[in-house]
């Protein structure tokens, strides 16, 4: 295992410590819980708070999206493991400015339980909490069982939209509604080329044989739908796009936001190779890319591969995606 480590059991604390030092202009640690990261504008009076949280090992997700006009407070979990209910509760408390808190998170059993417990405890303290559960990962369950699908990189676009909506002074109900609309308009698919290793385990969690690739792989190596020969990049891009288009109603004339994220060990230049093909294929279908994000936005330790996320835009989503935002993981400038 060729990794930069001290004691594997300390890796999350050390990650958070370094992150806070590197981005102290944008974020700080909660005084009440060392597993809660806050934006400097967190808890602003008269504005809905936006909270998320998830396991570590996906950096810059989740902590990296703490910032201005984005997420206010993030609960940090162990590697690939949900944060505690107490961390979610503290994030909710910190983000509450009196107008309630929207918890926007991904569909995983642990997160569902811990958010549920935290929301109950927050309600007892008089804090209004509404939730949106991201389920953008197309291959994790069939269309008919969309509620079972996992949340992956589409969560970033959900946070972007929810954070922008809250920054504009919308009500808690409206923030929830628009964040739900954002994730409903979003589909993702992952392709894995090589597995990832939890440092404490010392060996890969799963196998992908050399020369093969796994289509539909999850963010923790959850098995995909197909293991096939590793194809040339353009054909990989085509397979990914086909899966999304088969699940998503996109027509000529539609506008989309595209997020192409590496899974950790894939070189960024290869992401651009994929992106070139993705956008050109969308162009041939007369689907216009209004905004794109290409890079390591939502990783899975050192997994090799990528996820493609496509959000269908309507005028409201477009405006919210375009609103200025600043965080360690994502900066959006207004379109000139």
């Amino acid at each position: 295992m060729q990794r930069l480590l001290n004691d594997p059991d300390d890796i999350v604390d050390e990650t958070v410590a370094g992150f806070l030092r590197a981005h102290r202009d944008l974020v700080r640690l909660s005084d009440a819980n060392p597993r809660v990261v806050l934006s400097h504008g967190c808890g602003e009076k008269g504005r809905v708070g936006v909270v998320t949280g998830g396991g570590s090992g996906h950096e810059p997700a989740f902590i990296g999206y703490t910032g201005r006009n984005l997420v206010d407070a993030v609960a940090v979990g162990e590697l690939f493991s949900s944060p505690t209910a107490k961390a979610f509760l503290e994030a909710i408390r910190a983000a509450d400015g009196g107008e309630g808190v929207a918890v926007l998170y991904g569909n995983y059993a642990g997160d569902n339980m811990n958010v549920k417990m935290a929301a109950r405890m927050a309600a007892k303290e008089g804090i209004r909490v509404l939730t949106v559960v991201a389920n953008d990962d197309v291959c994790s369950a069939p269309q008919a069982e969309r509620g079972l699908r996992r949340g992956v990189a589409g969560e970033i676009l959900m946070w972007k939209v929810g954070g922008a909506c809250a920054a504009r002074g919308a009500s808690l109900e409206d923030v929830q509604k628009v964040a739900q609309a954002a994730i409903d308009a979003t589909r993702s698919v992952g392709v894995g080329l090589a597995p990832c290793t939890l440092p404490a385990n010392g060996k890969p969690n799963f196998e992908i044989a050399p020369g093969k690739m796994e289509i539909g792989i999850g963010h923790h190596g959850e098995p995909g739908t197909d293991v096939v020969e590793l194809l040339p990049a353009n054909e990989v891009a085509d397979r990914m796009l086909e899966i999304i288009l088969a699940d998503h109603q996109l027509e000529a004339g539609d506008e989309v936001c595209v997020l192409l994220s590496g899974l950790g060990a894939t070189p960024v230049n290869e992401l651009y190779v994929l992106y070139d093909r993705v956008e050109s294929q969308l162009e041939t279908r007369e689907i216009r890319v209004h905004r794109s994000f290409v890079g390591n936005y939502f990783t899975s330790l050192e997994m090799m591969g990528a996820t493609l996320t496509v959000m269908k835009l309507d005028p409201q989503l477009k405006e919210l995606i375009d609103m200025e935002a600043e965080s360690p993981g994502l900066t959006v400038r207004a379109k000139s």
Binding site: T84, A85, A87, A109, R150, L198, A200, N201, G218, H220
Partner: protein, 210 residues
Amino acid sequence: MTGFANAGSGIVVRGIAEAVVSNRAWLSEIDGKIGDGDHGNNMAKGFARAAERIGDGDRLDAAFATVTDVLMGEIGGSMGPLYGMFFSDMADVVADEEVIDPALFARMLAAGCEGVMAIGEAKAGDKCLLDALVPAVAAAEETASEGFPVMLAAMRQAATEGRDSTKDMIARIGRASRLGERSRGVLDAGAASCCLILHALADGVEKRLT
């Protein structure tokens, strides 16, 4: 009916922690086959921390509460809330009792099991920890009138059989549930850790009886 003293039985929970910690790699390996491979690490981390905080003279309910605090406050994941509820609801049943007899022990286990079901959405047969826990609770309830030795043996056997039954099941809950047919043929990591915990609990209680 003979029982064991609540006072000083926190040591039983230290034994549970030892069992979890020494099986860390095995639990992670099982989890890695159809889950994400972190079960052993997180369980070991949580139980090791809890063991450090359990004092020599701690009562059983106090030690259960310590485990719950660590799992719910510091570990998280899926197992944090599930085992957190298990131990906290067991603690509630025995908190005001000085002597724990077989009937009370069975009631304690049943309450823990109900706690798990209340927070999660799973049931026995879903390929989860309940597949070890539910039959173990039933066995304890059925044999409580026969005294601890018979009851604990029955509980151990039911937990083991329950754990092994998950091998042929298709997962209906958690990450593995998205695998369908491919989740068959592998033990469930939650059932494996639950079985370990129940065995260590039985071992610890036996030592307290002699």
